[in-house]
């Protein structure tokens, strides 16, 4: 009996030590990217060691080398044949290589090379029509950029209902992504839909969908839900699992449909609720980062109030099987959207005096990033 008790205690202690070993340490330092002023950008893509910034005013891609900390090129994007209809400009881009830069505007997909020569064009979303088509292909809210898979020769794009409003349940019955085979230019939707939460409730403005691309999978994150969907591009397998932060201290509460036209209430709802934002795949460490903007009370005990920008940003680190390794509360001084994984670690843009956000565009001379490097090597993999 005494031996059994001792063995049990030993097991318990070993368990504790193992748990300790599984904790992931991290270091944090800063890097500054000096942007020749004036450059404003809304969309960007990191492809080691280059960052491509889209400047909507001049319709140019500025190419910045992160290792050399200097601008190394620019690509002039030709005007879309449909820009004169309405809503001109590039909504999404993906740089595959110098010969193949994929562009998406409201009415077309194109491929250009670095000289700006257009090599391919496909019309989408019925330009000139009085009504939107049933399914729209567009980078809604700028958080779901196009992606090209070389092996499959397919272009992946966000799709959503062109007929239903976001306050209507039918909007959430439409699958979230489509693929286009470049051999026949036919669009085909992927079998990835919203979590049940969206089909049964009104989630206010917490309706963004994010998609990250890993080696063979597309990973989907939904703002209101800790659940994610993993779709294998090569064999079509789908996995649904929960990737919840330990620091999420409150469940998401749906909003009454009564408030669907009240912007103030919808904004408060975003402040008061936990919001899962994008997932970042770190191919250098075989792990994933999921960003959570944690719930915040509207009113503090001292009588002061909070806004959306006061929400704490949580970075949850998951291993390749989406087992949670650690959570870090990064505070409220970062812009989650401007984050990407590099060999040095996770880059995430700091809010500084030079960072002025206006209409989803950052204008700045110096972009100051925090680089957070997680020591994944000691974690279970």
């Amino acid at each position: 009996m005494r031996i059994a008790t001792f063995a049990f205690l030993l097991l318990l202690l070993t368990g504790c030590f193992n748990a300790k070993e599984n904790e992931v340490s991290y270091t944090k330092y800063q890097d500054t990217i000096t942007i020749p002023a004036p450059l404003s950008f809304s969309l960007f893509q990191y492809k080691h060691p280059l960052i491509y910034f889209l400047n909507g005013d001049s319709n140019q891609l500025f190419v910045f080398n992160l290792d050399q900390n200097r601008m190394v090129g620019r690509v002039q994007i030709p005007a879309s044949p449909y820009n004169n209809i309405e809503f001109g400009g590039i909504h999404s881009f993906y740089v595959h290589n110098n010969d193949s830069i994929f562009l998406q505007d409201l009415y077309s997909f194109s491929i250009i090379d670095t000289s700006g020569k257009r090599k391919y064009n496909k019309i989408i979303n019925s330009p000139g029509s009085n009504h939107w088509p049933a399914i729209l292909y567009n980078n809604i809210s700028g958080v779901f950029p196009i992606y090209y898979d070389t092996v499959l020769n397919k272009l992946f794009t966000r799709q959503y209902s062109g007929e239903k409003m976001m306050s209507e349940r039918e909007f959430y019955a439409v699958k979230v992504e489509a693929q286009m085979d470049l051999r026949d230019s036919i669009m085909k939707e992927l079998p990835v839909g919203y979590p049940v939460l969206y089909n049964k409730n009104y989630c206010g403005e917490a309706n963004l969908v994010f998609r990250e691309v890993a080696d063979s999978t597309n990973i989907y994150s939904f703002m209101a839900s800790p659940d994610i969907v993993i779709y294998n591009r090569y064999n079509g397998d789908i996995k649904r699992l929960t990737a919840k932060s330990r620091l999420q201290h409150k469940d998401f509460t749906p909003l009454s449909l009564h408030y669907s036209k009240e912007m103030n209430r919808k904004m408060d709802h975003l402040v008061e609720n936990p919001l899962y934002m994008k997932i970042i795949y770190d191919k250098y460490r075989s792990c994933y980062y999921r960003i959570l903007l944690n719930a915040k009370e509207i009113k503090n005990e001292d009588g002061s109030y909070n806004t959306f920008s006061d929400k704490d940003l949580i970075i949850s680190v998951f291993d390749k099987n989406f087992r949670l390794l650690t959570d870090v509360n990064a505070g409220s001084n970062h812009l989650w959207d401007y984050s990407f994984a590099t060999p040095k670690g996770l880059y995430i843009l700091r809010i500084s005096d030079n960072t002025h956000i206006k209409q989803a565009t950052i204008n700045g001379k110096d972009l100051i990033f925090d680089i957070i490097t997680f020591d994944i090597g000691h974690a279970r993999m």
Binding site: K266, I298, K299, S304, Y305, T307
Partner: protein, 136 residues
């Protein structure tokens, strides 16, 4: 019988009161008085219409919304608070209102008073007490 009717009437009154939708923003809008007092040393001593214009929010202060504000007759005095400096909004106020005061929230303190909204606000205040408000 009278007593029963009275009881039913009382229950209905109480029930209706309980079902009345909560005025979610009254307390926050009342914060306008405190904000003006603490941040701009300005006291409202007469019946005053305070317009909070969300000049730093995308498309909130467009021409259509400003025209809606101009179409409503203010109380005895008119005060404007701009959430950020904006020349075109200031010019509109100067053109439209002869007698007014304009305050600009240079330091971005308004949100701490709960006064960050997605719409422009009109708050009618008499002697420091909020009488009514609505959003444009």
């Amino acid at each position: 019988m009278e007593r029963i009717l009275f009881s039913i009437l009382l229950l209905l009154t109480l029930g209706m009161h309980a079902c009345k939708p909560k005025d979610e923003y009254q307390e926050r809008v009342q914060g306008v008085v405190k904000y003006l007092n603490k941040e701009h040393h300005f006291s409202i001593d007469d019946c005053t219409s305070v317009f909070l214009l969300e000049a730093n929010k995308c498309n909130v202060c467009n021409a259509e919304n400003l025209q809606k504000i101009a179409a409503d007759v203010p109380l005895n005095k008119t005060v404007f608070i701009l959430s950020a400096p904006d020349d075109s909004v200031s010019a509109f106020i100067d053109r439209t209102y002869a007698d007014k005061k304009i305050f600009i929230d240079d330091k971005g303190i308004l949100p701490r008073y709960g006064l960050s909204f997605m719409q422009n606000l009109r708050a009618d205040i008499c002697d420091g007490t909020l009488k009514s408000y609505h959003f444009y």
